[in-house]
């Protein structure tokens, strides 16, 4: 992560965060500085809510919940997140309005956008949180989500590809279920005909997503290995491999393979009423030395690996141009002193790091820190 020579080449940081009726905050105005920002407070005082709001401003989704309803303060109709992003000395004001049950609305510098999606990518963040242990120990869905989120952060276009793919998947799964339960596929040509149509769409969007993931894994591979070595010191090398339901690495090839596999598994798909082929069944396999990380890695190794995945994402986004803001939510508490020190060294070179810590928790010493106290819905600068 040593990049002092290009540190000022494409500086991006968050200068301000304002919240209205977001989670526990009726209203908040917070001024932020580049460098290390520490948000300190007792548990349950709303530190993670701040990190969640910042991440939401970049990705328009929460790392904790799937819908926007829990993000709106109890009793309020909607929540507003406003951030000021400084990019090469130019400021952009991004405002997001979250209304449960409705699409999020976005404004940039006061001007409304036709689709909130167009504000994606203006603020890029990489968040490392205690939940990330699931990247190593959890289900494949966690790792697929990791890859897809990173794809969208690199190229917002993939938000559309991902949404289209998920929609085709739902349409096709519903068709399979109804066809299976009524025995209609066997009996009538009509439904079989539409299944072919959905096969085609699934292969089209699925191949686009899958090929993008494969390229992403290639790009991440050396970075994860390097980040793991940096966090854990020495140790077995990290290997990443992508396990897919189909072979191939070019789009046409993958699409063709998906169609062929769907034809082969047709009976099983109809019987079970689920789509058995496509990137939604894939996994990113992580191993340390010769052993798979899931089930074999120790707690410390799992933490290091999860952290390495996030730091590698950070490096990748940084390499694309425009530094992401690094968010560390209560992670120093989870690491032993050696790893804590190494992480502190790594993040000291970041343009902006916003980290949370419980009162009394061990936080490494940084040269220049903007410290804030978080208590009862207020945030106060203390130095």
């Amino acid at each position: 992560m040593r990049t002092s020579n290009r540190r000022w080449a494409s500086r991006v940081y968050l200068r301000a965060l304002s919240l209205v009726d977001f989670r526990s905050y009726p209203s908040l105005d917070l001024t932020l500085t580049p460098g290390v920002v520490v948000l300190r407070g007792a548990n349950g005082e709303g530190k993670t809510n701040l990190v969640e709001a910042i991440r939401f401003a970049g990705t328009q989704d929460s790392h904790r919940v799937a819908s926007t309803a829990p993000l709106v303060r109890d009793g309020a109709d909607r929540a507003v997140i406003r951030v000021v992003v400084v990019r090469e000395d130019r400021e952009a004001r991004v405002e997001l309005e979250l209304t449960p049950g409705k699409a999020t609305r976005a404004r940039i510098n006061g001007g409304p956008l036709p689709r909130a999606r167009e504000a994606l990518g203006l603020l890029r963040t990489v968040l490392f949180a205690p939940e990330d242990l699931a990247l190593v120990k959890g289900d494949p869905a966690e790792r697929r989500g990791f890859l897809d989120d990173l794809l969208v952060a690199r190229a917002p276009r993939y938000a559309g590809v991902r949404a289209d793919y998920e929609r085709v998947l739902r349409q096709r799964a519903t068709l399979l279920k109804s066809a299976g339960s009524a025995g209609r596929v066997a009996r009538r040509g009509g439904d079989l005909g539409t299944l072919d149509v959905w096969d085609g769409h699934l292969a089209r969007f699925g191949s686009e997503l899958l090929v993008a993931r494969l390229e992403l894994v290639e790009a991440l591979r050396p970075l994860v290995d390097k980040a793991y070595a940096a966090v854990a010191g020495t140790g077995p090398g990290v290997a990443l491999s992508y396990r897919s339901t189909v072979a191939g690495s070019r789009r046409e090839e993958v699409a063709e393979a998906m169609r062929a596999e769907m034809t082969r598994l047709r009976v099983a798909e109809v019987e079970r009423g689920v789509c058995l082929v496509g990137p939604h069944r894939d996994d990113l396999l992580l191993s340390l030395g010769p052993l798979p990380a899931r089930g074999y890695a120790s707690q410390g190794e799992s933490w290091s690996l999860a952290l390495a995945l996030r730091l590698a994402s950070y490096e990748l986004l940084r390499g694309d141009g425009g530094e992401p803001v690094l968010l560390l939510d209560d992670v120093f508490a989870e690491l032993d002193s050696t790893r804590r020190r190494r992480l502190a060294e790594l993040v000291a070179s970041a343009e902006q790091v916003i980290l949370t810590a419980a009162v009394g928790a061990d936080v490494p010493r940084f040269d220049a820190v903007a410290a804030h106290d978080v208590a009862a819905g207020t945030v106060r600068r203390v130095n």
């Binding site: 167009e118 276009r157 739902r170 349409q171 519903t174 005909g193 539409t194 149509v197 959905w198 769409h201």
Partner: protein, 199 residues
């Protein structure tokens, strides 16, 4: 919550597409304050639309007779049929005055999630219209979204063996727009559908 009739009206209005609770409340109070004659006209219009309007026997478009105005018009080209999802799409295409053929309204698009399969659309009626060989071109003008595309693909395969010209409306850049403002999906489609310029 309001009392009795007012709340009933708000609830009914709120069930209409595109009307949220706030708008429903606004419309309800507008009607309360309005001239009784104006409200009567609205009531009549609503009653008439359910009593008089039916669907064209041939194309499925809204009509006030057995057949709609377009199907009855002898000047219309009998050789081409434009297939759309809803009656409102007919109105949209008619405004262009580009198309002189006739229409076929499917009544929706294939969407398993909503329980709509090919049998729920007016596809059998479309095939019946193509039987006598008078029609030589079918233009698929379903919406350019996932379900519309799926419906178009399905129809294209179904019509394949019939020796017709089956075309799909182009999708791409808006006229009078700037390239830089087009979203990636639209721009990508425009690339896919690019055509040779005749010098």
């Amino acid at each position: 919550m309001y009392e009795g009739a007012v709340q009933d009206l708000i609830d009914e209005l709120g069930r209409l597409p595109g009307v949220g609770p706030k708008s429903a409340q606004r419309i309800a109070f507008h009607l309360l304050a309005a001239n009784p004659a104006d409200v009567r006209r609205l009531v009549d219009a609503l009653t008439q639309v359910k009593e008089k309007v039916r669907f064209c026997r041939v194309c499925g478009n809204v009509a006030e007779a057995e057949e709609c105005r377009i199907c009855r018009d002898p000047r219309r080209d009998q050789a081409s049929i434009c297939v759309v999802e809803e009656s409102k799409d007919v109105v949209a295409i008619e405004k262009t005055r580009e198309f002189r053929g006739r229409y076929h309204v499917l009544g929706g698009a294939i969407s398993p999630i909503e329980g709509i399969g090919p049998d729920d659309l007016r596809i059998r009626e479309l095939l019946a219209r193509l039987q006598d060989g008078a029609v030589t071109e079918v233009i698929l003008a379903t919406d350019p979204n996932l379900e519309g595309e799926a419906t178009a693909t399905y129809l294209a395969r179904l019509l394949g063996p019939l020796r017709l010209r089956v075309t799909r409306l182009a999708s791409g850049l808006p006229v009078g727009g700037d390239l830089e403002y087009a979203d990636e999906v639209t721009l990508g489609r425009a690339f896919e559908g690019r055509r040779l310029l005749e010098a």
